[in-house]
């Protein structure tokens, strides 16, 4: 048992760090470190930088344009870019639909789509969730009907993050209305510039408009947009969801932001003393550090077992559940540092700097707190993760 990375892995980490230092604009770093959502330009610029190094699809094998990293290197890479902090790469393309395409797609699909993911020429979003379905992803009502050599897709998706920035969407649609719930679903790749696709932003309580409803109003797509076999879409969706593993703990992100919060708390005077010297605040920070260290070790155990045994670990549910809790509690501390300065609402549009009160990060704290409530809801809610643990691990 060895908690240390190999010298090669440490060199790799240094290489990533150097790359970040050379390529991540200070403005982006500062913006992200305040836990603000990245602007479109920030994402675009960063993905271009990664792409020029061949790193924009870090989980892909070399043959499809990826760097061919093993799981440990992927982990180090994501830790470092989250901790930097940089904008997340657009995982709907690189981590989700990309692997589906290179695993189940035709040669033509691989040739057409994969390079465009790497350069962000295709900005993908995910058309899985539907209004009213919640955690029950298989409750797909959007339908696709054969029409000559293509399909006509009709339905509505929701909770579609960054749909307003995307030009491509992958969609689950029901192709056999008579099949059982999880059968009869197919997986489509849809160009959002096609007639019938429209996007309505949903404002969230943090003030942001990063999630959307996507309407697919009798959208006609060619046959080449179907991935794999007709009616096997649920299998591809499960594959896609199972791909998101150790990254979901987001340890690097939480640790990086905790360090920022510790700094802010050292500058923040409450009752005549820096907040960091208040015992209760310090304890909350220490407790988070302890649990985050435990989570980091748990992530590495899962990673190590995967390297050794080559199969995913059901303890992944622990990573999601605890990771979400850590992120949320981290933003509670952030909110406490902002204190009453958090009361201001930046402006009616949810954009722009703080108005008349507080330091320049103060409006980002409540936004982060409100925004992070979602992490225990999406991607398998905390309740769903507990169900999985109870059934798949404990056998209840």
């Amino acid at each position: 048992m060895d908690l240390n990375f190999t010298p090669e892995e440490e060199t790799f980490r240094q290489e990533i760090r150097q790359f970040i230092a050379d390529n991540l604009p200070e403005e982006t770093r500062r913006h992200m470190s305040q836990l603000r959502p990245p602007t479109r330009d920030m994402v675009h610029q960063w993905v271009q930088a990664l792409a020029s190094r061949g790193w924009s699809c870090p989980r892909w094998p070399v043959e499809y344009g990826g760097p061919g990293w093993d799981a440990v290197r992927q982990y180090i890479f994501f830790e470092e870019i989250q901790a930097a902090p940089s904008p997340d790469i657009v995982s709907f393309g690189t981590n989700m639909v990309g692997p589906v395409i290179f695993t189940f797609g035709t040669e033509a699909q691989k040739a057409h789509y994969l390079p465009k993911i790497a350069t962000l020429e295709h900005w993908w979003c995910q058309g899985f969730s539907e209004p009213g379905a919640g955690s029950d992803l298989a409750a797909v009502r959007t339908k696709a009907v054969r029409d000559g050599d293509g399909w006509v897709i009709d339905g509505q998706k929701t909770w579609t993050t960054y749909a307003h920035r995307a030009n491509m969407i992958f969609v689950l649609a029901r192709t056999d209305p008579h099949a059982k719930k999880q059968e009869g679903i197919s997986f489509f790749l849809v160009d959002m510039s096609l007639p019938g696709v429209s996007v309505r932003p949903i404002q969230t309580i943090d003030g942001d408009r990063e999630i959307n409803e996507v309407f697919l109003d009798n959208v006609r797509v060619p046959a080449s947009c179907l991935v794999g076999e007709e009616n096997k879409g649920w299998d591809y969706a499960k594959f896609l969801l199972g791909n998101e593993r150790t990254g979901i703990a987001r340890v690097g992100m939480t640790r990086g932001r905790l360090q920022m919060i510790e700094q802010l708390a050292a500058e923040r005077i409450v009752d005549g003393r820096p907040l960091i010297e208040h015992a209760r605040f310090r304890d909350r920070l220490t407790e988070l550090q302890v649990e985050l260290k435990a989570l980091e070790m748990t992530v590495m155990r899962v990673l190590s077992a995967e390297q050794a045994k080559g199969k995913p670990n059901p303890a992944t549910s622990v990573l999601k559940l605890v990771g979400a809790d850590m992120q949320q509690r981290m933003t509670e501390l952030y909110l406490q540092v902002a204190g009453e300065d958090a009361v201001a609402w930046p402006d009616q549009d949810g954009t722009g700097p703080n108005g008349i009160m507080g330091p320049d990060w103060a409006d980002a704290a409540p936004a982060a707190y409100f925004n992070m409530r979602k992490v225990s809801i999406y991607g398998g809610s905390t309740e769903v993760q507990k169900n999985i643990i109870a059934k798949a691990i404990l056998g209840l």
Partner: protein
């Protein structure tokens, strides 16, 4: 020992509750916020219900309501998430006027009671708490800057705390005075707050050298009312959530039939009832004085904060995705409850004060 409302109190509660559910649903509130945060018709209606006359004594033409009446009103305001400047009107201003010249007091009370005059309390300053306000008064003129004045841009006049003759005084300043400049800012919970600059504004003294006591009384009344407001908001959040659990179906059944969610809803109910108890305690104890009052109010705020966080976070979680959207009411309750947590002293502030005052009164 009696926790029941009197017939009059119940009438007040019922009429206010009916008024707000008729006139101030989620859509109406959204419109009010878009249009600047104050609906004239609602405001007049509240005045007609007697809400603004409540805090003033009968000799000033008021209704002589006590903290229980304040509690009733504040709870309903919380339930409807009313964004109008009701807190100053029902709890904060009247205690500041207690020692004012009777004629001035009667005039202000009469105009506040029918809703035609709105006064905001301009007390906090941009820099952290000092012994005396940095704002000063001399020769009839007041100068300085006040921060975080809630609803400051909607006030017709301010009561301003300022240093005078080595002590603190309370002064009345008209908004229309050319020496007054207001910068307004929306808040997370659909209200507006302001920074007010006074530059030689004409000011009239209101207190009799007892300003610090009056300020403490006003703070106590405001804190007690805010506790009650929080209970109203928590109550609404719980029932919104249980309604959602009953109607929302997933995996082929209402999600409220899942025991894991039922137990979370039960925890919310427990948190609500404990908070409700402490809001009542705060109301009754807010009339006491000194350390006993302050410790009781701190204990209440500690409980309110804990319950507000539990209920707000759980309500959003049980709503799932819709819980974090601006289009659903529940997120707005969560936001308001969160702001209540941060204001009138946060959890740590009141835990510290409790420790300093020797714990919860027996």
């Amino acid at each position: 020992m009696n926790f029941e409302l009197s017939d009059e109190q119940r009438m007040l509660k019922d009429s206010l509750s009916r008024f707000l559910s008729d006139r101030y649903d989620f859509k109406a509130r959204e419109r009010v916020i878009r249009e600047g945060g104050l609906d004239g018709a609602v405001w007049r209606g509240l005045g007609e219900l007697g809400v603004f006359a409540l805090p003033f004594p009968e000799e000033d033409g008021g209704l002589g309501g006590g903290p229980v009446e304040m509690m009733i009103v504040a709870e309903e305001m919380g339930r409807a998430l009313v964004v109008e400047p009701w807190l100053a009107a029902i709890a904060e201003i009247a205690p500041l006027l207690v020692s004012a010249d009777p004629a001035i007091r009667a005039d202000l009370a009469a105009r506040m009671a029918d809703g035609s005059l709105r006064i905001a309390f301009a007390h906090r300053e941009p820099q952290a708490e000092a012994e005396r306000p940095a704002t000063t008064f001399a020769d009839g003129k007041l100068s300085g800057t006040k921060a975080r004045v809630i609803h400051g841009a909607m006030a017709d006049a301010f009561i301003v705390s300022a240093s005078v003759d080595g002590g603190t005084g309370l002064f009345l300043v008209e908004t229309a005075d050319p020496g007054v400049t207001i910068r307004s800012q929306p808040t997370q919970d659909g209200r507006r707050m302001a920074e007010i600059h006074f530059d030689g504004a004409a000011a009239r003294r209101l207190d009799q050298g007892d300003a610090e006591t009056l300020i403490a009384n006003a703070a106590a009344a405001a804190l007690a009312a805010t506790c009650a407001e929080a209970v109203g908001a928590m109550d609404a959040a719980l029932w919104l959530t249980t309604d959602y659990l009953k109607t929302r179906e997933q995996f082929g059944r209402p999600i409220g039939t899942f025991q894991g969610l039922q137990h979370q809803a039960a925890d919310m109910f427990v948190a609500l009832e404990q908070a409700r108890s402490m809001a009542m305690y705060a109301a009754v104890m807010s009339e006491r004085t000194g350390a006993e009052r302050d410790a009781a109010l701190s204990a209440a705020k500690v409980q309110i904060n804990r319950s507000a966080k539990r209920i707000g976070q759980t309500a959003v979680q049980l709503h799932g995705g819709v819980g974090v959207t601006m289009e659903y009411a529940i997120g707005h309750y969560f936001k308001r409850l969160t702001m209540i947590e941060l204001t009138h002293g946060d959890l740590d502030h009141h835990m510290d004060r409790l420790a300093r005052l020797g714990g919860v009164p027996a």
